[in-house]
């Protein structure tokens, strides 16, 4: 949230002002009505619980407020203290120990105060009882509580998502991608944590504030596991990228190719509206698409003259060898199909199977476009890097014969929207690593549609 658009500023001002007015109203009412919850132990304990939940960092999404178990505290406050107390508990997000600027804190505090108050009103509207619930109230209390939880989730996410939509496009789209991926988990965990709120309230007459401690333990374990998951996922993708780069060290000119094809394929996949999980799979498939090239003898890759039939066959085998390597990874089968068929052509003249049109798996068609585009916009030993415009023209020319026309159009549209970082593409080959062996230079590129592999004419 470094730069805000004017709309975002306005939106934030409205949300914060509404929350301030609400809190003022709550305080005035509480004092005038002689309600003693302002000094109660419950308010203090729940506010502390809320702050603990809200302060501990999580790396699940780029915005931790999207996945905060603190709703357990606000919803317990709804039952024990009513909407006003819940709003006060939610507002403590303003002073939580989490890092973040005043702007972010103000927005979070306002968001939680508003959603807590709204859920409290929903609870009351459906006949919920305020105060420590006795066993006789169950299971009747569950319906109003469920309504309160649903309202809390809806208002909280509604306010947050509207904010994300107003943020500058690059950041927002990135965050939206991450959020999509975990959306189902988010909703389930929000409802799960809401239930803990009811538990805290219900256990209050048995064990008092100790209920909060019992609830916190599994909750923090879950957060720990999520943190471990995120750390492992990051390590996983870094390791994969490093290994793919190692495979590319054979040829200077293709360094960074896997990484860029992966980004191009991801871009195109998002453009045609693939779901988050498939986008993730195609990211890895793009990275690994040429791993089988390692099975092609170096002298074939470096050959300057036309290739013999056998040498061509060796090159054409690389998707199969790639498949052989990655098959044992617990991947989506779609990603495997993408790796195996990324050199098929729409007119059926590709390899290794000669599939045509819709027979070619979607992943393979996506990777084919990104693969050719990166090959053309990168420097090769036999030619310089082409401009994006030239590459686009070439993609158009081959559209329908080599590439899926729908995907070519989508890719060009994505490029036109400025989503491709042209800085990364088309750069001269990177300097050698210290202690590196002399660079090998391939004289031909099997990915380049403008310079097809030359084969010795058979007699």
């Amino acid at each position: 949230m470094s730069r805000l658009t004017r709309a975002a500023w306005l939106y934030m001002a409205v949300v914060v002002t509404a929350a301030v007015l609400l809190l003022a109203h709550v305080l005035v009412q509480a004092m005038a009505g002689g309600q003693d919850y302002l000094l109660s132990r419950a308010l203090l304990v729940l506010a502390v619980l809320f702050m603990i939940c809200d302060s501990s960092p999580t790396t699940l999404t780029s915005r931790q407020s999207a996945w905060s178990p603190s709703s357990a505290a606000t919803l317990a406050a709804v039952v024990l203290l009513g909407p006003g107390g819940a709003a006060l508990v939610g507002a403590t997000s303003l002073i939580s120990l989490r890092r973040g600027g005043l702007r972010e804190r103000a927005f979070n505090g306002a968001m939680y105060a508003l959603s807590a108050y709204a859920s409290g009103e929903a609870y009351l509207a459906l006949g919920g009882h305020i105060g420590v619930p006795r066993p006789g109230l169950f299971p009747g209390i569950i319906l109003p509580f469920a309504a309160a939880a649903a309202v809390h989730v809806a208002v909280n996410h509604g306010l947050l998502w509207s904010m994300l939509l107003l943020l500058p496009p690059s950041g927002a789209s990135l965050q939206r991608g991450r959020l999509d991926l975990h959306l189902s988990l988010l909703l389930v965990s929000d409802l799960g944590y809401a239930t803990l709120g009811l538990l805290i309230a219900a256990l209050w007459h048995l064990v008092g504030p100790f209920a909060a401690v019992l609830v916190l333990i599994p909750l923090f374990v879950a957060r720990w596991a999520m943190g471990q998951f995120a750390a492992q996922e990051g390590a996983y993708s870094a390791t994969m990228a490093a290994l793919c780069q190692a495979v590319e060290t054979k040829d200077f000119y293709t360094r960074g190719h896997s990484e860029r094809v992966s980004r191009g394929a991801t871009l195109l996949a998002r453009q045609i509206g693939m779901g988050a999980e498939r986008v993730e799979a195609i990211r890895y498939a793009g990275m690994l698409h040429d791993v089988g090239k390692l099975g092609v003898p170096t002298k074939v890759l470096q050959k300057t003259g036309p290739l013999t039939e056998e040498e061509l066959a060796a090159i054409q085998l690389h998707p199969m060898r790639g498949l052989e390597i990655v098959r044992q990874i617990g991947f989506l089968t779609e990603a495997l199909d993408g790796i195996m068929h990324h050199h098929e052509r729409m007119d059926g003249k590709g390899y290794p199977m000669g599939l045509a049109g819709d027979e070619i798996p979607e992943f393979a068609r996506v990777i084919a476009v990104a693969d050719a585009f990166d090959s053309m916009t990168s420097t090769r030993s036999y030619r310089g890097a082409r401009s994006v415009g030239e590459a686009v023209a070439e993609l158009r020319k081959c559209s329908g014969m080599q590439f899926d026309p729908v995907l070519v159009d989508a890719f060009i549209a994505a490029l036109a929207q400025g989503r491709w970082d042209s800085q990364a593409a088309g750069q001269p080959p990177p300097a050698a690593l210290p202690g590196d062996f002399p660079a090998q230079v391939a004289a031909q590129d099997h990915d380049d549609p403008t310079a097809p592999l030359r084969v010795v004419e058979s007699r």
């Binding site: 239930t195 007459h205 998951f229 490093a242 190692a246 390692l294 617990g330």
Partner: protein, 426 residues
């Protein structure tokens, strides 16, 4: 495939061996006694028994795999412990005797395990047996106390007794699992117990706290609490499942990508996999802990990745025959590849120093490097061949080099490990 052939004799975790058999028999006897006693005496408060049994069955159905081929059923364990620790359900006292708790738990587990069997997955009898024993321990200790006036009236005392029993039951379960694992994998008991404790702490804490929540919440709300608690328990379980899932994908990916050196013709088929297996077995023999073994396995799998930077493969791919300078260069290049990932610092260090002799000028290399150096040399000399004379000759050659090149402790462990894989060798 030659890769797996000589490894197949290594006892797998899923196969029933002596220690596990004993455990299963013990749990079976307990199960029969509990069911017989409950059937004879009649089910006390059958509605509660049914509700808790259903929760336990659900938990068993939603079993969780943890890193290192472990299995847990956190929801089922929490439900069973909650049943053992319940003092009241709603306003009525909970009167189930300890053996009824055992019987309900066992039946619930079996019902929940049936779908796994039907789907062709392993039944996981050993895991179920150790979970049942832990529950039985807590139930037998707590049920007689449940209605003492002291426990009933003093909530803090009750909470303390519950917490102590849960921790004791958890420790007992870890000891049982550690014993079985040490037996099955031929690890040292102290090491496997420490591994078990480390891995089970987070989940154990969550299960223990949830069990107390279940016991207290059924008192505050009645049986409806069980339905309500499923949601937060599922959240914890889902988080663990994702964590375990990415860990296993990570390992699979490194195993798969390590094979690029084979496809590229740099090393013999199956070399990385065999060196990985051999290194882990030797490391275990030497008493390395599980996190260290994982690091060792990554390093062993990727130990030849530096060869990718060679213009042409070394003839036969055997680095043991390459010149010391080449060996060092390959190791250094491999380490810099791994360093680029930025996450496997320890692994990069192990790979970098694998080329150094045991008594070199740079001091003693880390234990992982010494193990990989020996395992790599052994596999370069023997390959996937099951011929035990070849293996004996290779070991002899390594032993002759222990003055400077190979760590004698590592070579001795290697001899023991390969002796188990090639039975009958002197």
């Amino acid at each position: 495939m030659t890769t797996q052939r000589h490894l197949a004799r290594q006892p797998g975790w899923q196969s029933i061996d002596s220690g596990q058999l004993l455990l299963v028999i013990l749990a079976g006897v307990l199960l029969v006694a509990a069911v017989a006693q409950t059937a004879a005496a009649g089910l006390v408060q059958p509605r509660d028994a049914l509700a808790f049994g259903a929760l336990i069955a659900l938990g068993e159905l939603l079993r969780l795999s943890l890193p290192g081929d472990r299995e847990a059923a956190p929801i089922g364990s929490a439900g069973a412990l909650g049943y053992a620790l319940a003092v009241r359900v709603g306003t009525l006292p909970a009167l189930q005797p300890a053996l009824q708790v055992v019987a309900v738990t066992a039946v619930g587990m079996i019902v929940g395990a049936l779908p796994h069997l039907a789907a062709g997955r392993p039944a996981g009898v050993g895991g179920m047996a150790s979970r049942l024993l832990a529950v039985a321990f807590v139930a037998m200790a707590f049920r007689p106390l449940a209605h003492l006036a002291l426990i009933d009236r003093h909530m803090w005392l009750r909470l303390a007794v519950m917490a102590v029993l849960i921790v004791a039951g958890w420790l007992a379960e870890c000891v049982i699992k550690g014993l079985i694992r040490a037996d099955a994998l031929r690890a040292r008991f102290v090491v496997s117990l420490a591994d078990e404790l480390r891995i089970q702490v987070p989940l154990g804490a969550a299960v223990g706290a949830s069990a107390m929540l279940i016991a207290l919440a059924t008192e505050a709300m009645g049986l409806v609490a069980l339905a309500l608690l499923i949601a937060p328990l599922l959240v914890t379980q889902t988080a663990f499942r994702r964590y375990a899932g990415i860990r296993s994908t990570y390992l699979q990916t490194v195993r798969a990508l390590a094979r690029v050196t084979e496809v590229g013709g740099y090393v013999e088929d199956g070399h990385s996999y065999r060196v990985g297996q051999l290194a882990v077995a030797v490391g275990r023999e030497l008493g390395m802990s599980e996190p260290d073994l994982l690091e060792l396995e990554y390093a062993a799998l990727m130990h030849d990745i530096g060869q990718l930077s060679l213009a042409d493969p070394i003839p036969g791919g055997a680095t043991v025959l390459a010149s010391p300078e080449d060996q060092e260069r390959i190791a250094g290049l491999g380490a810099s590849v791994i360093e680029q990932a930025g996450v496997l610092g320890g692994v990069a260090e192990i790979v970098r120093r694998q080329s150094q002799p045991w008594r070199g000028s740079d001091g003693e290399p880390p234990i992982g490097s010494r193990i990989i150096r020996a395992a790599n040399a052994f596999d370069d000399l023997v390959g996937g061949s099951p011929d035990r004379d070849r293996s004996a000759a290779a070991l002899e050659r390594l032993r002759l080099d222990t003055a400077a090149e190979y760590d004698p402790g590592v070579v001795e462990a290697l001899t023991k490990v390969t002796g188990r894989w090639y039975p009958g060798r002197l």
